[in-house]
């Protein structure tokens, strides 16, 4: 690297604080850059080339858009794709709805000590691995599980109902997994809202819904957007929760990718699916930001 060599020579010849600072800065940045390059950029370049080729004979490949054509021609694939997107949007919206009162309580209603306890409670589920947590849900919800048993003993059902393998179950699991990632940015956004603004709006004739709509939500918008982006991306790329809680019915797009790579050994198709998912999440985030009038930079500063 000529730049580093130059820098080294300059340092040897004339100890220069600014130069040292720059070297230190580059050194500190190096792990992040290596990580970005080695684990994100390079694999994606490889995936891109994979997705754009077709095997014509053993070890003979040619450039083609066939993998993408298969996606369009096969209804199951794009059906799964649209369904995953739709379910993710739904899960994000539900998470927002549930997280908002929690964040409001944390930011505005409770004192400092109760706040740390409540934050802890939100964090506790994350001490357990996602697999174990999801298996916990299965123990609770399966036909011979705790909840169906309770329903029967309370006389609410004649036979224990199967609560697993429904869309609703998948949504419950997804919301549960994502909640913290919505609560944190929302709480910090709401904490920065001056109570006097709410009082002022109230004083000027505002009521609950109008203050929420015109004061609280616009103020918290960057936090809402940040939380939604994180939750949406996590949900879209989630594999474990839809697979375990949804079973065969879940039809999650990550499962299709898994199947192509692992079961079918069709890496080309898997890579194309991976790229489609990446495009989808980028597009949805972009549309979401445009609709809410937020800028990406503003949101990411949260």
């Amino acid at each position: 690297m000529p730049a580093e060599a130059n820098a080294a020579r300059a340092t040897a010849a004339r100890p220069d604080n600014a130069l040292q600072a720059r070297l230190l800065f580059m050194l500190l940045l190096a792990p992040a850059l290596l990580w970005l390059l080695g684990l994100i950029v390079l694999p994606h370049l490889e995936l891109a080339t994979l997705s754009l080729r077709e095997r014509v004979a053993p070890r003979v490949y040619k450039l083609s858009l066939n993998q993408y054509r298969t996606f369009i021609d096969e209804p199951l694939y794009w059906h799964t794709f649209v369904r995953t997107a739709w379910m993710s949007v739904l899960a994000t919206a539900l998470t927002l709805l549930i997280a908002f009162p929690i964040a409001w309580t944390l930011a505005k209603l409770v004192r400092a000590r109760a706040k740390s306890v409540l934050f802890m409670l939100c964090l506790v589920p994350f001490w357990i691995s996602e697999t174990v947590r999801t298996l916990g849900w299965m123990i609770l919800l399966r036909e011979s599980g705790v909840l169906p048993g309770l329903l029967v003993s309370f006389g609410l059902a004649d036979t224990p109902p199967e609560l697993l393998y429904h869309d609703a179950t998948v949504l419950v699991g997804l919301v549960y997994t994502s909640l913290l990632f919505m609560v944190v940015p929302l709480t910090s956004a709401l904490e920065s809202l001056d109570d006097a603004l709410i009082e002022a709006a109230y004083d000027l004739g505002g009521n609950g819904p109008s203050i929420l709509w015109r004061i609280v939500i616009p103020h918290a918008a960057p936090g809402i957007a940040a939380g939604c982006i994180v939750v949406f991306m996590l949900t879209l790329g989630n594999y474990l929760t839809p697979t375990l809680l949804g079973g065969k019915n879940s039809l999650w797009f990550t499962e299709q990718i898994y199947t192509q790579f692992i079961t079918r050994f069709n890496w080309e198709q898997g890579a194309a699916f991976g790229f489609l998912l990446l495009t989808l999440s980028t597009a949805m985030v972009w549309v979401g930001l445009k609709l809410s009038g937020q800028s990406f930079g503003e949101v990411m500063r949260r």
Binding site: A196, E199, D203, L204, R214, H219
Partner: protein, 367 residues
């Protein structure tokens, strides 16, 4: 005289602390009423009870003749200008001013017209589309007032709105506020800890201390005829001198103390010979002279050594120690320039009209 605000024996406690202690007062329509007091005296609590954000434990508040018990802040004919203004940063200037009107369900065209008129009246014509962070401190102030006044409230409450401004702007906004109040004729209730704001702006000032009004009166009354030691000490600067009343003749009191200070003052309230008393002498009521013969002959004359000179333009003063008692006095320097060459350590003479010094029976805790 019609009262826009009447409070009858209102009480508010926070735990064991009595924040507002059986307060009764009324504010005449169209007047500028200030509540002046040190921080923690209960004035903010009082204002928030008038606005409706907190309810009094007992007592009644009538606004425009209507009892406000159980009426929520958004239904009271009262609007408030908050300490840090609380303008909505997510809205334009026009939307800020129009917020209250839109909450009343007025048609858009009507709102736009009234917002335009109001902005014109506060000399911000055409600022509708501006963002709040594009405004200067003084302009924000005017938007905050416009936002409230556009609703034509019976009462406008102002919670130390000038506190966050720098000195120059504060002086300017004082004048502007007074002019705005005169132009709109709305009743203003203004709370502040800054006596100059209260004195300059108000028709009536209530001096508040420990949940009670010490005295309610015009700025002149508070300044020239304080009724309690607290008011005498809080409004304007004063030399406070303690001692015993050695002679009382009508309202003329002679105060002496163990250090040998003897001074004459006007009694406020009942004082009898032998009582512990406190006298207040204003620095600006004191005459200074290099020669004793230059002072009026009918007043007691004191002498002392200059301890320090406090030059502050028009508010310049000096600190000196009276010779016999070594009591410290603050004396205002006249603006004529005849003392501009005064040196620390110099011996000077001073005196004051005993009628301009007030004397109170000392409150129990000061004895």
């Amino acid at each position: 005289m019609h009262a826009d605000l009447q409070a009858a024996r209102i009480v508010k406690r926070f735990g064991g602390h009595l924040a507002v202690d059986e307060l009764s007062f009324s504010v005449a329509r169209g007047s500028f009423f200030s509540i002046l007091g040190p921080s923690g005296c209960g004035k903010t609590t009082l204002l928030r009870m008038i606005a409706g954000f907190i309810a009094p434990d007992s007592g009644e508040i009538h606004i425009g003749g209507r009892n406000m018990a159980g009426v929520a802040p958004n239904r009271r004919p009262v609007n408030m200008v908050f300490q840090h203004l609380a303008l909505f940063p997510m809205m334009s200037v026009g939307d800020n001013v129009g917020y209250g009107l839109s909450r009343r369900g007025l048609p858009k065209a009507e709102i736009a017209r009234r917002v335009g008129e109001m902005l014109e009246r506060v000399s911000l014509a055409g600022a509708q589309a501006k963002r709040i962070d594009q405004l200067s401190g003084g302009q924000k102030q005017r938007v905050a007032i416009a936002r409230s006044l556009v609703l034509e409230p019976t009462l406008l409450l102002l919670d130390e709105p000038l506190g966050a401004l720098d000195l120059k702007l504060r002086e300017h906004m004082k004048i502007e506020l007074k002019q705005l109040q005169a132009a709109f004729g709305t009743t203003f209730v203004y709370i502040t800890h800054d006596q100059s704001e209260a004195l300059v702006l108000s028709d009536q000032v209530a001096v508040m201390n420990a949940g009670r009004f010490e005295q309610v009166g015009t700025p002149q009354q508070l300044y020239y005829e304080p009724q309690t030691p607290f008011v005498a000490g809080f409004v304007g600067a004063s030399n406070r001198l303690g001692g015993r009343a050695t002679a009382v003749q009508g309202d003329a009191v002679t105060l002496s103390n163990e250090q040998g200070l003897v001074l004459h003052a006007r009694a406020v309230g009942a004082i009898s010979a032998g009582d512990p008393v406190q006298a207040f002498v204003r620095p600006e009521a004191t005459t200074l002279a290099r020669e004793a013969s230059a002072l009026p002959a009918n007043q007691p004359i004191y002498a002392g050594q200059v301890q320090s000179l406090l030059f502050d333009g028009a508010n310049s003063a000096l600190l000196l120690r009276e010779e016999r008692s070594s009591a410290e006095f603050r004396i205002a320097l006249p603006q004529t320039g005849q003392f501009s060459d005064l040196q620390v350590g110099e011996r000077v003479h001073f005196g004051f009209d005993p009628k301009q010094a007030v004397c109170f029976a000392a409150p129990p805790h000061a004895r």
